[in-house]
Amino acid sequence: MPDYGNTGIYVWSVTIIGLALPAMMAGLSLIKVHLSKARLERLKQEDDA
Amino acid sequence: MTAPAPLLSAFRQAFSEAWASGAGLLLPLGFFAGTATLVPFTLGGEAELLSRVGPGILWLALALSSMVTLERVFQADLQDGALDLWLQDSGSISLVAAIKTLTHWLVSGFPLVLMTPLIGFMLGVPTTKMIPAMLGYAMGGLVFFLWGGVAAALSASVARGGLLIALIALPLYVPALIFGVQMVDAGVDSPSFLFLGACTLFALGVAPAAMGAALRLAAE
């Protein structure tokens, strides 16, 4: 781990937020797709039943 | 284009509505005067600070006052069916929307412009800058009412849409606000004034069309 001196915390916090926020958005999108797909499947099953 | 009659009637109706209810004139006026009056109390009476901040406060008060009555501008027409009548009768809803907005500005905005010397004096705006300031406020106020009108038209079918209107209008107000405040100091010869004029012309061109499209949508 390189030593950034006293700028280290800023660089790392920016980088971590820059990874966390997109990861969160991606996670939420993934959840949304799965939920909506599951709902559609459930409705189709009820229909066929 | 159909006869001017529908446009005149829209103008007359909007005008009488605003004057009759009193809210059209008194509410923004009161809000504006109240804001401007309270500012010296919040900032302390230091003359130098006030004169630096004064123009900014006046512009802020103008922007916020314009939002105060926006919610009702188109909602009332939507609810009582006047909007449907306009769509049937007149050739261009955008023109009607423009007239309504200009009326709204005349009733609610222009008096604020007339009040600015008084309040400007209270806030320490130098007297030499007063006339260009008033001109700027007249133009800027028009821009606020035009873009605010777009926000109001888009939100016409939303009950209690005041916050939504403010949220939509906020980014659109920024340029006029910036140029307007700069222009008070810089005067009529400055690039800020030219930009403010350009913003006004731009808003006059684009906003009515957007309002028309939004109103057509709201009426369905």
Partner: protein
């Protein structure tokens, strides 16, 4: 290609393999840019040493936030003129991702500036024109999302939001000009990316060292692909939701 994809069925088939590819490539490119940017690339002694490494996250998000608003306006335009349903689905999906990246840009910019310009929090946020225009852009996205949510029927929401996006995009240049004029002595770095210099580090207003620029472009490409993957995912979710609603409607009719 766009008209090919306008068919929802084809879109679903396309996005089914496009999403994982964009996602994987995006993550790889971001990882590559950060690996280089954080560990390999030398610090810039002219501008705060190692602190400049923050730019590998901040600058791509800045470009992306503007690009996404343009994409939002573009999708709205396509929908308004040609009424392709998928264009509206796209607009709906772009908005939250755009808002997220704009927020990311603002947050990272504030943190970076907090250190880089030695300013207090209040001075920082209010004293820099570029960050302020990012904030205004965030409100443009939020207003769009709020308007869509407030209107009842999907059709109305789509049309109103499209009008708003188009009004927004024509205002964006004016907003940028006005905010730049607002702060004539900004402490923010002058735009240095568009002037590409030689292989030596130069003064800030003469262009950026290509060593940095390269990683910036990797990061930008990576985040763009990642954002695209997210947008495609949200679009798929929307298509599924609409199909589900159609199923329900059919059921109610007694099929």
């Amino acid at each position: 290609m766009l008209s090919y994809l306008a068919n929802p069925l084809r879109f679903m088939r396309f996005s089914r393999f496009a999403v994982p590819i964009c996602f994987a490539l995006g993550v790889l490119m971001i990882g590559w840019s950060l690996y280089n940017g954080l560990f390999i690339v030398p610090p810039d002694d002219l501008q705060g040493g190692d602190l400049i490494r923050a730019m590998f996250t901040h600058v791509p998000s800045a470009w992306l936030s503007m690009g996404l608003y343009a994409a939002l306006a573009g999708a709205s335009f396509v929908w308004y003129i040609w009424r392709h349903e998928l264009a509206d689905v796209a607009a709906r999906a772009i908005a939250p991702i755009g808002a997220g990246y704009t927020a990311l840009c603002f947050i990272t910019g504030s943190i970076w500036g907090q250190k880089g310009w030695g300013a207090g929090w209040h001075n920082l946020i209010l004293g820099d024109s570029r960050l302020m225009s990012v904030l205004v852009m965030l409100f443009l996205f939020l207003g769009y999302i709020a308007l869509r949510a407030a209107l009842e029927t999907r059709q109305k929401a789509a049309r109103a939001a499209a009008i708003l996006a188009l009004v927004g995009i024509v205002n964006v240049p004016i907003i940028k000009v006005s905010v730049d004029m607002w702060q004539t002595t900004t402490i923010h770095q002058e735009s240095s990316v568009l002037k590409i210099g030689g292989s030596e580090p130069r003064e800030d207003d003469e262009g950026m060292n290509p060593v940095y620029l390269q990683q910036l472009l990797w990061g930008f490409g990576g985040h763009t692909l990642l954002a695209s993957a997210m947008i495609l995912m949200l679009m798929r979710a929307e298509v599924y939701t609409q199909q589900a609603e159609r199923q329900i409607a059919l059921k109610l009719e007694g099929h």
